[in-house]
């Protein structure tokens, strides 16, 4: 069943169009990686899928039962956040907010959910640590745990690996793989590492300024655009 369908979608900022006429579908349980050079509109597309930015043309339809309050999101980290005085637990718990409505506070179930996600990601001992004292990899896990509190269905991640060392990157991919295969969470991730993306994703969406590719990873490897970028990488 299609969770998200993009039909001829283009985005625009005041003076320029980014990401022209994209059409693709994301089904339940898919693992999709979005790759492409800087400035080709990957972050913009993610914002569009999240409903934060309206498409300039075309339509994005979401399946029934996938409301904003059921999507998890791991944003590109902002500088302001890195030194934010909040405990890990406070940050993770804030992911539960979307199911609270106007009620103040968190329920016992929310607290248990937050603890469960922290255990799943191996950060439960960091519970009372300050977010700003963590390493980059630990901070990413905290943000991932928070987004898991917000969803059981779908995760959108925007370059979550930026600034991590290779070990942390490998661990992070491992986690995503586990979430996708064992917990049946649909994953849509922007990645700047084509090689890693190909290794893990079932589907690829490659954006460039002129054209785009969407399809199974196997097809991507043999496509023109895929050969140009991935094949090129493979030779050196």
């Amino acid at each position: 069943m299609a969770l998200l369908t993009c039909d001829n979608v283009s985005f625009a900022y005041e003076d320029q169009i980014v990401a022209k006429q994209l059409s693709f579908q994301i089904n339940e349980g898919d693992y999709l990686c979005i790759v492409g050079e800087n400035g080709t509109g990957k972050s913009t597309l993610i914002k569009g899928l999240l409903g934060l930015k309206k498409p300039y043309k075309g339509t994005i339809t979401t399946a029934d039962g996938l409301r904003a309050t059921e999507i998890g999101y791991v944003p590109q980290q902002t500088a302001a956040q890195k030194d934010f005085p909040a405990s890990v637990y406070e940050v993770v718990l804030s992911g539960c907010l979307n199911s609270r409505g106007l009620l103040p506070g968190y329920s016992k179930a929310d607290r248990e959910k937050a603890m469960k996600q922290m255990q799943l990601l191996g950060i439960e001992e960091l519970k009372y640590k300050s977010y700003r004292d963590l390493s980059g990899g630990q901070q990413r896990r905290v943000l991932l745990a928070r987004s898991l509190c917000a969803t059981k269905k779908m995760l959108l991640l925007d370059e979550p690996m930026t600034g991590l060392d290779p070990v942390a990157v490998a661990e992070f991919y491992q986690l995503l793989w586990k979430l996708n295969k064992n917990h049946k969470i649909t994953i849509v991730m922007v990645s700047h590492d084509i090689r890693e993306a190909i290794e893990h994703a079932d589907y690829m969406l490659h954006l460039s300024h002129e054209e785009y590719f969407f399809g199974k990873t196997e097809e991507y490897k043999t496509s023109n655009i895929g050969r140009k970028f991935w094949g090129g990488l493979d030779n050196d």
Partner: protein, 275 residues
């Protein structure tokens, strides 16, 4: 020390100043944590200048000062927030334009009409004598309202402060909560102006949170610590002001500076030991 305290509270004007001041300090410090973390610190400063302009207009028209100032400052807060978000004009430039503009209008109106009367002077630099009984009642009612709203919206305010994009993406009405923060700040600024002075009220908002962040590790502890810092510096500051007849606002800010320095040293020693 005890003698001094009993002497102070034997004057009704001091009791009024203490009651209203402590409540306003509470509001300012909890809101300030969010403003500092959202990089909105200058909004408090901008609003105080707008408040000064509004008071000048009220004095010229012979109207009740707070009744004029509160709606004008709330409107300014909403406009500033919109400008900061739309990013057409850079937020800090927009605030500078507002604050100097309002100050210029205020000063011009004053010089055209009454000349600098005592009321306006006290609005600029603050006075512990300035709080009338009706000011106190209004301050108490509004501060309690601000605090209740803050407690009620606490989790949402945290989420919007920590990561607005995430909050919005997952279905929180961030625009509304930003607006709530701006309106609550506007009310607090107007209430605090009479005691702290338009020139210094923003320090009541910014200092406690900044000081607490030197050592506190969680958001909740930052809030509680900021409240403590704010109330302590208010009480010490106003005592100093009473004893040495210095302006209340300035005395409070000086205590704030000292506490900030102490907390910075403590935070620095702590992180130094860890490494």
């Amino acid at each position: 020390m005890i003698d001094l305290m009993t002497e102070m509270v034997s004057y009704p004007f001091m009791v009024r100043a203490l009651v209203a001041g402590i409540l306003i300090s509470l509001c300012a410090s909890v809101l300030g944590v969010t403003l500092v973390l959202k990089r909105y610190s200058m909004i408090g400063d901008g609003l105080s200048h707008v408040g000064f302009g509004a008071l000048a207009i009220a004095a010229a028209l012979n109207m009740a000062p707070l009744a004029v100032a509160i709606p004008i400052v709330i409107a300014a807060a909403i406009i500033l927030l919109r400008l900061t978000e739309s990013s057409k004009i850079k937020g800090d430039a927009a605030i500078a334009v507002f604050s100097t503009g309002a100050l210029a209008i205020g000063v011009t109106i004053v010089s055209l009409t009454t000349g600098m009367n005592a009321d306006l002077y006290s609005y600029m630099f603050g006075s512990i004598l300035a709080m009338s009984m009706s000011d106190v009642v209004l301050s108490v009612v509004l501060s309690i309202l601000v605090l209740i709203l803050y407690v009620f919206l606490y989790e949402k305010i945290f989420a919007v402060t920590f990561d607005e994009t995430f909050a919005r993406a997952t279905g929180t009405k961030t625009g509304f909560y930003n607006m709530a923060i701006a309106v609550l700040t506007a009310v607090t600024v107007v209430l605090g102006m009479k005691m702290m002075g338009a020139m210094l009220i923003s320090s009541l908002i910014i200092f406690p949170g900044l000081t607490a962040m030197r050592i506190c590790k969680s958001f909740k502890s930052v809030i509680f610590c900021a409240v403590a810092v704010s109330v302590i510096s208010f009480v010490i500051g106003i005592t100093v002001s009473y004893v040495y007849a210095t302006p209340a606002g300035a005395s409070i800010v000086i205590v704030d500076i000292i506490l900030f320095a102490l907390f910075s040293i403590a935070g620095w020693i702590r992180s130094g030991f860890k490494r």
